[in-house]
């Protein structure tokens, strides 16, 4: 798993590549929560276009970050999820809480 973090004004962009399971979710949580200590962020965008596998540990990581940024008055967005990942986002009900877009430009233009 690899994550690239970029701060664009009040938005934190995390481009994740690889697989999100129990082993990698803990590491991702630490990295993103570390950056969220700066309370100024109003949005977090998780770019999942490079994610080839996700399980319930990964979904838990996403839900946890949603609760965290929401608690800070911001919003979480998911972009670029592949069909296998998208399917689990829907089955788990995450898409009812978190807006999903094709790419980051759609989030910016929303």
């Amino acid at each position: 798993m690899h994550v690239e973090i970029e701060a664009i004004r009040d938005t934190l962009m995390a481009r994740i590549r690889g697989e999100i399971d129990l082993a990698t979710a803990d590491e991702l949580r630490e990295i993103i929560d570390g950056r969220l200590k700066n309370k100024g962020y109003k949005a977090v965008i998780l770019d999942l276009s490079g994610v080839s596998f996700i399980d319930s540990s990964g979904l838990g990581f996403i839900l946890g970050r949603y609760k965290k940024i929401k608690g800070q008055g911001g919003m979480l967005y998911i972009v670029g999820a592949r069909s296998s990942v998208s399917r689990l986002l829907e089955v788990s009900g995450i898409t009812k809480l978190i807006p999903v877009y094709a790419n980051e430009h759609e989030v910016i233009q929303r």
Binding site: E19, D21, L22, A23, D26, R29, F53, D55, S56, S57, L59, G60, F61, L63, G64, S84, L88, V91, S92
Partner: protein, 150 residues
Amino acid sequence: MATGVKNWVRFEFPSISENISFARACAAAFASQLDCTLEQIEELKLVVSEAVSNSIIHGYGRGRDGVVVLEIKLREEKTIDIVVEDRGCGIADVEQAMQPAYSSESERMGLGFVFMKSFMEELEVTSEVGVGTRVRMVKSLLPGRDELGE
């Protein structure tokens, strides 16, 4: 070899989370002998990941000195039979643990058993407190009527 079993594999590994990806990759590689679809492979990877994660998190409380056993049997009629077993703390109330959104950890969604139930045809969980847990999942990988275009 047991009746109806065309091939099988059984291996055990330490209860460390780095082994979850190894377990699901092995399951996917072994199942590919049945000439299944990519979607079926994705589902098998998911259920193995969930069952092994449960053993590590709940069975051994994330302790790294436990042992997880994975056994896969490829049966006649393109049926796959997967068993994930641990010798951990066991589950006191299996029925409750299998409820959607039940989780003993705050950041987990309690979807492990839900996925196992949804993506496999049979799910059997036997557990004894202080002894361990055995999860057996079975699925036929024969194409359904809709996939055949009937």
